[in-house]
Structures are given as structure tokens and as C-alpha cells.
Symmetry: C2
Subunit: 390 residues, 2 copies
């Protein structure tokens, strides 16, 4: 998770005297729970612990893969098998591997406008061209996808894939509606466009996973679609463990690629810790607690916005995840406001970095309610409100 | 470390009833030592433990960077600073990042013939063209480098970098001599060719680091050269922790690239374990033990080869690392011999996979003395000798 959304403020943004609404970091109090400590301690004296220090299975810890197969099939009414999953070193690893193996330099990657800064950065590092697809409070706009496809066909450009964060989107917190998701899936299928679904916030649905729209993976029956999950938001980012779902033959490509073969599977030791924590049922219970914890933080933030913001400020209303997206009144420039806010002790992310064309975000800021303590969130929003009302 | 050198035999190669001279895996008995267990247990109750579960510093754990700066400066008589080092998720991560950020599709990467299978695989995954540089018992042959550079200039091809494993080379076990290293450094400097030095076996010098040739990084005073180190061979591959040395501005490029920003530093939790293990002096003591352990294994293997192999078989004489390289008598085909050996209960790696042009390795096999127990190594070599004498 970039501390680099705007470099200059990152240090202050995480400094002691600044209220950080900048970073999508999990609540620190949720990271080293006694049950996780116990899991790690037990692992050290078990054969799996020793095994996990050696080069691992390229596909990933079988215990963890079994757990994820059951979870995904139960939650999404699917019938995937172990061959459809690979353990990865966080969503970063999956996004990078997909860009390496499923795109060529000069190809176009379609992304939401706005989208996740660091994924855009990875695509650029691979020499890929980015095209932004406008979105609103219901998520990506299908007509914009059609328009972009037509334009690219005319330009003779190859589309490598569409990268989307459909659930509790980063940076907006918006969830793509079921209706639009089905339309987009049909458009993608009709045009042979692969969808890369970055769904790392899905497990943080305040009302539970059952209330969420179907995944792209389910809608497209696993054809021409990759789905990415992660334990970074729901256990510990520092372990670097996530998962990638795809067709068996495609997962095989990832398992057999150079980095996987050389490294011997993604973070075997950390993945074994996660595997044990999941197998024992502790992770499922932990996620339940996180859902209500982040729901409370989100509600506090929304209430504070309602109370302290002038009517000229608009914001999204997430039902899960870490983020709320603000549109500032006419005349405000987010990059400048960000500096002013920081000078008053509140760190926020200005919108420009989330867009292929920075100007599109010049009146937007992202608030993360995941990291700061509740009273700080309230005070932070009050300060921001004051600055915007002045 | 690929189990995929030849896929078909990998499972048997690691099976219970087969003597595996196939894989460059560390001796399992060295992996979960009580002092490492203690280090991990202590970390769980320390603030650094909690911190290491959050997104980490993009450059890597400061404690570990400090330790590596001192180690490298002491061993190589350099004066690098923290800005010259980045912690990576094993050498895999460094090799992949370099290919992503310092090469474009279609560029040429110069590699030793033979070279490390999985690095070749990573370069191919990035759409890079490989050219092999012949080597002998003294390592890469400078004249061959000059010849290849001339040829590529004539072809109008761009050389992204030269990838070399100068110390206890994988797969041959050969160490590039000081004299040749200086010649190659001069050739590279004269032609503006970047050198990527994969030096992950350097710490396993049987007679100690002081007896080794200078590194390319030192010879080239850090100009146009990257040096890669790893804890996979000297602590635990499953932790996925290594380091990358380069110019401050270049390390900054890696720290600021998309994957680093998104992931928040390479494996923060595992890296903190390694940091504590190094800071306390335990790693240095551990490496001392590994050196004599692997020296004994190497000597046992060489003695067995001398005793059991017909005079028509030739092999290298490593002074460190994990591997010995055999050239089979006329008339033998390594790929077939590998199958025969496996049928007789010994797994070896056939040479083809280590070459850009597989035919160049058709009479060669790699023996790893790192993994199997001493009596098994001896028995394995005896079986191989019998098959080659028949």
C-alpha cells in the first residue's frame, strides 16, 4: 500500500502528531492478536513449520488452498477445485504476474477512473498503456467501456485486459452494482476482453459477503477472468499472502512461470502461518470482528462528514472496505487543500494520483477510515470541514 | 529453486526412496534451529514484531540493512551506505525487478552457458532474448563476451545487461577467477554494459569469504552493476529474504517502483525475523557451521566421484556452494541417463535446461550435494558410476 500517493506528505502522514486519513493500513490493534501469536508459536514446533522454511510447493500451501476452495465455493456457489487457485505474495504479486504473462509492451490496460495508484504504477512499469473508464456511485459505467473498446479498435490497439476493483473500490469505496456487473461481463465476453478482478476488500463487507454482488469470476464462469484475494486487509499486510483464482490451465501458467519456479512458491513460511490460522477457524472469527470494527469506523466518519462538511462537499457511502471519496467545492484544488490540511494536522490523499489523467482528480480527496483511532477520525473530519467551510 | 529442471522427474526426485542429487535445497537439518525458533518467539512479543505485520518500509527493515552495509563493507573493503541496499523477497524478486525496470521486450540479456535455469525462465517471461557466453573451469571466457558484443552490434541489438553467477556458479560450481573478472569488468565498462551479479552462494565459501575474488560491484565501483545476495542458502528459503546492492539512485528506482510501493517492502515479517537473527550475531555463527557442513558434503561427493567414476567422466571441483557439474562420456545422452539413473533410485538434473541452446548441455548433468544425507550422496554417486562404467 503506497505511502507514495503523494510522496512529500507520506512521512508526516504517518507521523505521531498527524491524524492519518492517508493510508489504507489496517487498524494496528488488530494485527498481533494472541491467537495469531499462538498459531505461530505452535507452528515452530510442528513438522509443517520446518517444511515451510524450505523451498515450498510452487502452487502454495495445500492446507491454505483447500481452505480457500471451500470458502469460495461456499460464498459464491461455485465448484472450483485446488487447480483453480494459487497462493501469491499479496495482490501485488498477482497483479504483477498477470501484467508480465498476459500483456505485452504497448498493450492497453483498461482501468477505472479513478483506480488504485499502485496498480497503475505496476502496469506502467511493464510498459503498458492505460485508458481510464469513468465511474459513478454505482461503479464503472458500461457505456464508457463500450465507447473505449470502439475507440481502441479504431486505433488498432490490443487490449491486454480490464483491471477492476468492483467491491469497496479503492479509492472511492464504491461497489459495482449487480446489474452493471452483468452488463460489463457480457460486454467483455462479446469482445473477448479478459477481466482482472482485484477483490481484496470483499471480505470486509459490513453486512457480510452474502449481501454482495456476484463476482466477475462467477458471472463469467471462470472464462477469461482472474480474481485476486488477499489476507493483507483481513489478517496482516506484513505476511504478504494472498490468492489468485483462474482456469486450471492458466493457474498452471503462473505456477510454471520463472519467478514461481525460482522462488519455490509465494512466501512458504508466512503462507503456512496463514494456513494454520485459517484451518483452525480463527481467521473466519477474526474477519467477523473486523467487519463490525470497520463498520463502526465508517459510520463514525460518515456521521462526522454529515455534521462538519458544508453542503457543497459530496462523498461516497461505502458498505465495506477502508475508503470514502470526497469531491471538494468548486474553486478548491485537492493538491493544495491536501497541503493545507496537513499543515492543520490531517493527512489525506489527493485525487490526482488515482487517475490516468491527473487533472480528472483535481477536486477529489480520499479518506481512509481504516487506520486512525475513532476520536482522531472525528477530529480530523472536523478540521477538514472547518477548512472547507471557511 | 525449480523442481522443474525436468518436470517429469521432480516428484520422484524429491520422493522418499530416491536419493535426490537433483535440487539445490539446503540441508533440512539446518533449517529450524532452536536459536531461530527463539528469535521468532521473542519477536512475537516485541514492538518490532507488531510493526512487521503492518505494511513495511519500502526499502526494507533498517536493522537488516544496517547489518548488510557493515557486512559488505567489511568483507569487500567498500564504503556503501544504507541508500545502496534494498531488501528483496529472495534473489527471484531482484532478478525479476531488474528485468522489469532495466530491460525492454526484445532486448538481449547475456548469460553464461550454462546458467541458472530459472533466471533464464524469468528473462524469457519478460520477452527478452538470451545469448549464451561459453565458460570453462575458470568461469566465463572474456573473449567470448567480446565476440558476442561485436555480433550484437552488427545485428543492431540492444544489450540490456549481462547476468552472471560468478561465485560457485549454478549449475557448474565454478568460480570466475579474479583475473578474468577484471577483464570482464573492463570489457563491460568499455562497452557500457550493465552487469547483474547473482552472488547468492558467495557466503558459502568453504575457506571463507576472504579467499574469494573481488565482486563485480567492487571492481566497477558500483557503476552500472547490480549485486544480489540471499538468505535462502544460508538461513531458510521459505522466508524469502535477500538483498540487492546498487547505486543510491538506482536503489531508489526499485524502492519507488509499482510492486514495492504496493506491497510495502519485501516480506516485512520474514525480513524482521532475519534482521533479529543477524543483529544478534546468530546468522554469522550459523554460516560458519554451514561452510564446514557443505565443505564436508562436497569433499565426500568429490571423493566418491574419484572412486566410482570411470576415467571418461569429467567434473568440476567447487570450493563452495551446492553444485558439481559432470560431463558424461561420448555416446551418453544426459536426458536418457537421467531417466536410467532415476530408475535406479538417483535423481540428477540433466544439463539441457541450463543452456540457451539445450543441445549444448546434452552430455552434462548437475549434482547437488546440498540436500541428500552424506551416506546417500556416496551411495548415489556409486550407483551413477556403475551406470556409466557399464
Amino acid at each position: 500500500m503506497s505511502t507514495n500517493i503523494d510522496v512529500e506528505s507520506a512521512p508526516q502522514g504517518t507521523g505521531a502528531n498527524t491524524i492519518s486519513l492517508l493510508l489504507g493500513h489496517p487498524d494496528p490493534s488488530t494485527l498481533m492478536k494472541p491467537d495469531l501469536q499462538t498459531t505461530i508459536q505452535q507452528l515452530l514446533s510442528q513438522p509443517q513449520g520446518l517444511k515451510a522454511l524450505q523451498y515450498g510447493s510452487e502452487q502454495g500451501a495445500p492446507t491454505l488452498i483447500r481452505f480457500l476452495v471451500e470458502k469460495i465455493n461456499r460464498e459464491q456457489g461455485l465448484a472450483i477445485g485446488a487447480a483453480n487457485i494459487m497462493i501469491v505474495g499479496g495482490s501485488t504479486h498477482a497483479v504483477d504476474m498477470i501484467a508480465r504473462l498476459y500483456a505485452n509492451e504497448g498493450d492497453v490496460v483498461l482501468v477505472e477512473a479513478p483506480s488504485y495508484t499502485d496498480s497503475l504504477h505496476i502496469f506502467r512499469d511493464h510498459g503498458l498503456e492505460l485508458r481510464g473508464l469513468p465511474m459513478d456511485e454505482q461503479g464503472l459505467i458500461p457505456a464508457e467501456l463500450v465507447r473505449q473498446i470502439t475507440r481502441l479498435k479504431a486505433e488498432g490497439k490490443r487490449i491486454a485486459f480490464m483491471y477492476t476493483i468492483p467491491t469497496f473500490h479503492n479509492p472511492t469505496g464504491v461497489t459495482l452494482t449487480e446489474e452493471r456487473k452483468r452488463m460489463i461481463a457480457r460486454i467483455a465476453q462479446a469482445n473477448g476482453i479478459r477481466i482482472v478482478e482485484d477483490d481484496v476488500y470483499r471480505d470486509l463487507a459490513f453486512d457480510g459477503e452474502a449481501m454482495l454482488p456476484t463476482t466477475f469470476y462467477a458471472l463469467m464462469q471462470g472464462e477469461n477472468v482472474f480474481s485476486i484475494g488477499s489476507f493483507s486487509k483481513t489478517l496482516a499486510p506484513g505476511l504478504r499472502v494472498g490468492w489468485l483464482v483462474g482456469k486450471a490451465g492458466e493457474i498452471e501458467n503462473f505456477v510454471n512461470c520463472g519467478t514461481t519456479q525460482m522462488g519455490g512458491g509465494a512466501n512458504p513460511f508466512a503462507a503456512q502461518i496463514v494456513a494454520e490460522y485459517c484451518r483452525s477457524g480463527q481467521w473466519t472469527a477474526h474477519v467477523e470482528q473486523l467487519r463490525s470494527l470497520y463498520q463502526r469506523r465508517c459510520e463514525t466518519t460518515l456521521a462526522a462528514l454529515k455534521h462538519y462538511m458544508p453542503s457543497t462537499v459530496h462523498w461516497t457511502h461505502p458498505t465495506g472496505g477502508f475508503f470514502i471519496w470526497l469531491t471538494l467545492p468548486q474553486g478548491f484544488v485537492a493538491a493544495d487543500f491536501k497541503k493545507t490540511a496537513l499543515a492543520h494536522g490531517v493527512a489525506v490523499a489527493s485525487g490526482a494520483g488515482f487517475f490516468v489523467h491527473p487533472d480528472d482528480g483535481k477536486r477529489c480527496i480520499r479518506l481512509a477510515f481504516s487506520f486512525a483511532a475513532l476520536p482522531d477520525i472525528e477530529r480530523g473530519v472536523q478540521i477538514l470541514g472547518g477548512l472547507l467551510s471557511g
